[in-house]
Symmetry: C2
Subunit: 126 residues, 2 copies
DNA sequence: GATCATTGTTAGTCATCGCTAACTCTTAAC
DNA sequence: GTTAAGAGTTAGCGATGACTAACAATGATC
């Protein structure tokens, strides 16, 4: 039972949009991720079938418990990686984009080691 | 003109095998990367067509100047990322695997910032 | 009430990058 | 000299994940 990288990205974006706007529709996801409506529709169908989201009668998208867990994990990684890169002097936009790619690949062991490194104040403070 | 992630991996492995054995054949690449011979054959065909490698009359694989440049860049990233993770206490095998995934994704800016961070001795020395 | 914009869907295509099956070619063994 | 092993290739398939084209349903505008 392996969750695809793109699914992780979609779940993370659903969580981010929910925080920003209070609700999430497919069209918002498409705009935020710069993909087309059919791409989102197809992805949401998969996420529904795998139990990560539900959609109400007005097509508003809600995370299930499982979806919430995946989204939160990736979102946490994203923020940690982004803050780490920015603490090294990387521009916000680039740090955001790099974090978005790396967040899927880093093993649990490496991510935790990096968290520990950051907690020790090793990267220079702002 | 974008080079694919898998092409970068193949070029890097060609350079590593050349250092280890002194020569490189398709079958060695297949064994080293745990992929099948047809997968390597197909990849080598693409690399030839794009001018990254040549193959002599005995099918030994040689990097062109362009191929050498790509391979060296990725190899350098791999080693730097791996050493960084190991300096944080990550096991060698996991550091190797994580570096192999991240090496393609990190922007030039973030990689250089990380190099600078390492030079300053920020990660704890062994 | 006809028209248009918005939202979502289905159907079909394409690129990347693996795979298996089946083939050729060369070289070594008996 | 036939057979077997090793190396490389082609053909065709499957998963992932994007795309365009075309259609359905809802709501707002005139």
């Amino acid at each position: 039972m392996h969750i695809h990288e793109s699914s992780e990205d979609y779940l993370e974006m659903i969580m981010m949009l929910r925080e920003q706007k209070g609700y999430v529709r497919s069209v918002d996801i498409a705009a935020a991720l710069s993909v087309t409506k059919p791409s989102v529709s197809h992805a949401m169908k998969q996420l529904r079938e795998n139990g990560y989201i539900t959609m109400d009668e007005e097509n508003y998208i809600l995370l299930t418990v499982a979806g919430e867990a995946v989204a939160r994990r990736i979102y946490q990684r994203h923020r940690t990686l982004m803050e780490f890169l920015m603490s090294l002097g990387v521009a916000e936009k680039i740090a955001y984009e790099d974090a978005c790619k790396i967040e899927h690949d880093l093993s649990e062991e490496s991510f935790e080691a990096l968290c520990h490194h950051i907690e020790q104040g090793n990267p220079k403070p702002q």
